[in-house]
Subunit: 135 residues, 2 copies
């Protein structure tokens, strides 16, 4: 159980018990949908409102405390903001893995060939994870 009080405040977010729990849920689960997050949160706060989940997710996104990951053929998942990274998604078991890939050579090529200035990247690779290729 990590204490996210200071990090929340650094992102201009009051450190409420609900937000601390959201942060820890994201830390524990890695990537989670709104629905799953709500389910987990109800365990911890039996009277929490779904509106609180939505409001906090939106605020946390605006303040870059979390990031949204849009996946093909699935609902978005949310994660704590970390160093930029890409995602591997298994089409069999839906597992999501983080992976750090150096995209600089690609960005350079794009810059040269299209005169488009790349600021950020979003890469999702779909396929079969290690576990599923064995089973």
């Amino acid at each position: 159980m990590i204490n996210y009080t200071d990090i929340l405040r650094e992102h201009n977010l009051k450190a409420t018990p609900q937000r601390l729990a959201i942060a820890n849920t994201l830390y524990t689960n890695g990537h989670i949908t709104i629905d799953s997050l709500y389910e987990v949160m109800v365990e911890k706060f039996n009277a929490i409102s779904l509106a609180t989940i939505y409001k906090n997710i939106n605020l946390m996104l605006e303040n870059s405390f979390i990031k949204e990951v849009k996946l093909p053929n699935a609902k978005s998942v949310y994660e704590l903001t970390q160093a930029p990274h890409s995602h591997l998604v298994c089409t069999k078991c839906s597992a999501i893995e983080d992976i750090t890939i150096d995209l600089n050579s690609i960005i350079d090529t794009v810059t040269k060939t299209s005169s488009f200035k790349v600021d950020s990247t979003n890469l999702v690779l779909s396929g079969i994870c290690k576990k599923c290729s064995n089973n």
Copy 2:
């Protein structure tokens, strides 16, 4: 005005006037949201139902006649299925450009370092387009 009758049928879709119009709208506009597509379609069929748009978009996705492109901080856009390609999105003017990038070296690296078998890629690069960097 391209005639999409045969191509629709190849995808097991009856060539209705509404579907032919959707296909041509996608061909003309390139990438379009559900809302914009509906607006354009109402011009051509003043009594078209929004349900028809949704049902056709979903069917066309299932039959791979079209693809969905999920963008950061924006609604999904839809496009006719083409050769796999990536997207450039301008954060100033929201313009979307197609770009073909060879990702094989990246896929190879991922396969070797993570034993994950990559089947398909989804890459969106955000930044400033040529037009916006000049203005």
